[in-house]
């Protein structure tokens, strides 16, 4: 194989001269991080809320949360993204839709991707939270209520603190998935990390270096996330309980 390895390519200036190719990658990394962390926060808040609703003794609330999960879990992520980006503006009232299309294209791409990833991941977090709550002994809820705590207080102080501890390992997987799934944003034109690497190949023809670099960056993010979550697991460990000492 005759391939001209050139690692210096990252330090070469781009055609526009404003940045280096490494600068491009770091810019893409920034978008990936902003998008993923934003979507993760949204997914956690929404997912915990929905997960709680799935377990409350009210058919309408539990049913609505279940319907949400089925919709967002059963439609491919890519299709969802296209719906948020291409279809939603058309469904809004004309004036609002037009106003949306006039805004900065980058903002449109970013927020469509953020909503898409956030809502999709929320459905998955919701199921984890539901499983966590369901795995607690039924008596815990009764014990909270019997002490006079209201149902929301029982969730806040008794059920959720234990349920969230129990589901930390599967939540770590979801957190990692958000970063990997964020690459779909490239399909609507957001120049995040994976898209930036393709662009780098287009400009320099140094495919190996570009894809190795981008792989290393993704792995680095996820190793950091895994490490952070491990620390969190250790910190929140309950003495004398599963995983505790």
């Amino acid at each position: 194989m005759s391939y001209n390895w050139n690692w210096d390519i990252f330090l070469s200036p781009t055609p526009s001269g404003e940045s280096t190719y490494l600068g491009w990658l770091l810019n893409g990394l920034q978008w990936t991080l902003t998008l993923s962390l934003g979507a993760w926060i949204m997914a956690l808040v929404l997912g915990i809320g929905l997960g709680v609703l799935r377990t409350v003794p009210n058919r309408l609330l539990a049913g609505s949360a279940a319907a949400y999960v089925e919709v967002f879990r059963n439609v491919p992520l890519l299709v969802q993204l296209f719906i948020w980006y291409f279809v939603l503006p058309e469904l809004l009232p004309t004036t609002l839709g037009d106003a949306l299309k006039q805004t900065d294209p980058l903002a449109q791409q970013f927020f469509a991707a953020l909503l898409c990833l956030g809502c999709f991941t929320a459905a998955r977090v919701c199921e984890q939270v539901r499983a966590g709550i369901a795995s607690l002994p039924r008596g815990q809820r009764n014990a909270g209520l019997a002490l006079g705590l209201t149902l929301p207080q029982t969730y806040r102080y008794v059920l959720l603190p234990m349920a969230l501890r129990l589901i930390l390992p599967p939540l770590t997987s979801e957190f990692l998935n958000v970063f990997k799934n964020s690459a779909v944003a490239s399909t609507i034109g957001l120049i995040e990390l994976s898209r930036q690497s393709q662009q780098l190949v287009d400009y320099t023809a140094q495919a190996y270096e570009a894809f190795i670099a981008v792989t290393v960056l993704y792995v680095l993010i996820n190793v950091l996330v895994m490490f952070g979550m491990r620390v969190l697991e250790r910190r929140t460990r309950v003495p004398g309980y599963i995983g505790g000492k």
Partner: protein, 244 residues
């Protein structure tokens, strides 16, 4: 006036009737033991008393407040009724102290210091002051159940419900829990206890209720119950559990 009044209570799980026309009462200062074979509905009945289970027919009145009234604040009522569970149900992620104080602070609005003082007094009462900073997972079953009793007592309840408090315990730990319960009973606490501990019933109960297939088949004073139970089913039950 009765502290707990249970009138014509019936309850169904779907098509299955778990309680049929149950009626009884617990007077202030009285200790009532509810016994019967498993599946007879005694735990369900006691969970209905503080509204943890809903009833479809009948009426339950606790300290003058009817549970089913739309104006009744169930949480407020439950705060006055202490409950102890078969599986202790301490909150595993909280230290013993936090278990004792959380409801005092969040429900009764006591200050942290006040709640802590009250909690530690109760913990001392059940003989576990040294365990205050431990987590439930580090305690034995008997110790956990005593903390659970202290947690309920710290709310200054007007009556206490016990749902098979010793059934999940190793035999050698049963007595430490019963001792606490006997002490409570002799101090005049109003108690409704679902239990198989006939020794406890003989010692402190004022009345014994015997349930079978969701019905109250015997509701008699202790002496009548152990002397000459009228219901045949109760006689059979007693002869079986008092054999050894």
């Amino acid at each position: 006036m009765s502290m707990i009044q249970i009138e014509n209570v019936s309850k169904w799980y779907g098509d299955f009737q778990v309680l049929t026309d149950c009626g009884t009462h617990v007077n202030a200062g009285e200790v009532v033991v509810v016994c019967g074979p498993s599946g007879s509905g005694k735990s369900t009945l006691i969970r209905c008393v503080n509204g943890l289970e809903a009833i479809q027919q009948g009426r339950i009145v606790v300290n003058g407040t009817a549970l089913a009234e739309p104006t009744t604040n169930l949480s407020k009522l439950r705060a006055q009724v202490g409950m102890v569970f078969q599986n202790f149900e301490l909150f595993p992620h909280m230290s013993v102290t936090d278990n004792l104080t959380i409801a005092q602070v969040k429900v009764l609005g006591r200050s942290t210091e006040e709640a802590l003082a009250r909690g530690l007094t109760m913990l001392d009462r059940v003989g576990l002051k040294a365990q205050a900073t431990k987590f439930p997972g580090a305690l034995s079953g008997g110790q956990q159940q005593r903390v659970a009793i202290a947690r309920a007592l710290a709310m200054d309840p007007i009556c206490m419900l016990f749902d098979e408090p010793t059934s999940a315990l190793d035999p050698e730990m049963v007595n430490e829990v019963l001792d606490v319960m006997v002490e409570l009973a002799t101090e005049g606490m109003t108690m409704m206890c679902v239990t198989h501990e006939m020794g406890f019933a003989r010692k402190v109960a004022d009345r014994v209720i015997f349930m079978d297939h969701g019905r109250i088949v015997e509701d008699a004073s202790k002496d009548d119950f152990f002397g000459t139970p009228r219901a045949e089913r109760a006689q059979l039950f007693l002869s079986k559990i008092l054999q050894h």
